[in-house]
Symmetry: C2
Subunit: 345 residues, 2 copies
């Protein structure tokens, strides 16, 4: 079967462009909504059988070329001693604002604290039987720090900015701890069977260039280095980083996931040669009807520089009001448009 | 006295770099908090005497080089028939989702519907007695459309994306109406005495390049053209537009306000020759203590290309936890560092 996705991430030549979608399992699918009627979000994440079941829903329904573990980037935080609740955005209790708070954070033991993730991965590898590769994932150090310091999401992250400028030493200590925690966690995911890792840096893009290097890209680079394993590609999702794509490339990730704002040819110029590209259809396209979906797919495909590794994806997660038919059309269109030698057969 | 700010916006040579700050009147000032104990936000905006008083607070306290009318970009929406409430983020009743909703929007009559803004401007011009120029402002058409369609702020603007992709015709109609409304409103502000206009495009930056041109930059360009008046500079605030600064320049605004993410030299390269630059200190710098503020000011000043018009400002609004001392240091440092010929005297 299919290692198409892994080879494309590593920049190897492929017969056709592989496709998967960020948040491909979720509210827009009836199968998922039915499960959510019975279980809350954390229960789905923390129960290996349920997480595995949700993970497989889009693989079974759409035939995407990769499965991504159903989980949340914030699972690391409770393992560090901070409770997380969703209502619906995340709230983290006892935000990390001072040195003492940083020193107080526990170092997670993946087996003891995050075994439910590892069990879900092992179970999924058995159930997938090699049909498609399984992607593990985790939050980038900066993004986890943003949640820990701010105590949740934010428009302007005032507490986080206060720490970065007011006590950069403490911020660096926090990031070092998060790098270590995520190296342990993502290595354990690989050992449990994850065949690729995506690092989600949802908030790194809020940083000015002069901070991005030290607080986002640098820690991410140490994380990438710490989990590098032959044949296991690492993808770095850099949202809203048009001002810093050269610094993003310096993380050393095998592939960079680009948001919908920057066309892939332009992104490739800014990244420089090297990493494969993932992305970057606007999730909004899926709300626009069949012809809009097909045209959107063509626009993305036309923007990929010749010879560059490419994994088709959205620029961000599937939006909840997305009709499943749009995802079906997307997957079919990527297949149709990129299958090489189709005319010769 | 001082037309420093106006001349810098127009790219003329100046004796020193003028400085003002977005959201320079607000919660971080005790004078403001005292007024807010007595009046809610809308009452401050809608009562000319109060709006004028708040406008002058930072001018009196910090000696900034421009006053900006205390108001809100959303004042246009009630005049179009949509109520706005703050709790604390804005909520707009009866979101505009379909063609019929667009057709149902009223065209505001600035004198009848927004007289409180115009009265505040006239009163301020009298009270300022030429001390510093007065900036009027309004929302960019796209940003107002985003609020009208989504019904408030949003992380991913699904309803807005659904309209842009699902019924682009209706979206264009909506934007045309907003361009017309804002031309009338901003012209009336200039007639009432506003000496410069800033157009806030808080959300344009969420758009991919292929949509930005048609839905954000294009309507903004028509607005700029519609209010052009000799000697009255127009500033376009382009938040999160690192992926589209060339298209931002095409709006024809005299000055472009750049967020903190992109250094000004890099922004100037992307904008091309032409508009003056405004910005772009990270508001977080003001949370870091005197030395951090001074270093931050120096970093911004060092990034301004030689000979390019520059108005010192933040990359975004002043954050509520900002100490007033930081703003004092900022203003003093910009003065000290940019006053020409100081050594010769």
């Amino acid at each position: 079967m299919s290692d198409l996705f892994l080879r494309a991430c590593l920049g190897e030549e492929v017969e056709r462009t592989p496709v998967w979608l960020m948040r491909q399992a979720g509210r827009y699918m009836e199968e998922y909504r039915r499960l959510r009627e019975k279980y809350d979000f954390w229960t789905l994440c923390r129960t290996p059988e349920l997480a595995a079941r949700v993970t497989l829903q889009p693989v079974d329904r759409f035939g995407v070329d990769a499965a991504i573990l159903f989980s949340d980037i914030l699972v690391t935080l409770p393992a560090m001693g901070r409770r997380v609740e969703f209502s619906p955005g995340p709230t983290i209790d006892r935000p990390v604002r001072r040195r003492e708070d940083v020193a107080d954070l526990a170092r997670p033991d993946p087996l003891a604290d995050l075994g439910f993730v590892l069990d879900a991965i092992s179970q999924l590898r058995r159930e997938l039987e090699g049909r498609v590769p399984l992607i593990g994932f985790g939050g980038a150090p900066f993004t986890l720090a943003a949640y820990l310091v701010e105590g949740g999401g934010s428009k302007s992250f005032p507490a986080l900015r206060a720490l970065l400028y007011g006590d950069p030493e403490a911020a660096r200590d926090l990031l070092d701890r998060l790098v270590d925690a995520q190296i342990d966690f993502l290595r354990a995911q690989i050992e449990a069977g994850a065949q690729a890792i995506q690092i989600f840096d949802s908030w790194g893009g809020i940083l000015p260039r002069h901070l991005f290097e030290g607080f986002a890209a640098g820690p991410a680079a140490r994380l990438v280095e710490g989990i590098r394993r032959p044949g296991v590609p690492v993808i770095y999702f850099a949202r809203d980083c048009a001002h810093a794509l050269d610094l993003v490339a310096a993380t050393g990730a095998d592939a960079i996931s680009i948001d919908e704002k920057t066309p892939l040819d332009r992104a490739a110029d800014l990244l420089g040669p090297g990493p494969a590209l993932q992305g970057n259809l606007d999730p909004g396209v899926l709300l626009g009807g069949p012809e809009v979906v097909r045209a959107g797919v063509e626009r993305v495909l036309a923007s990929v520089p010749a010879g560059r590794g490419h994994v088709f994806n959205l620029g961000h997660g599937v939006l909840p009001p997305t009709p499943v038919e749009s995802v079906e059309i997307l997957v079919a269109e990527v297949r149709r448009a990129t299958t090489r030698g189709r005319e010769d057969k």
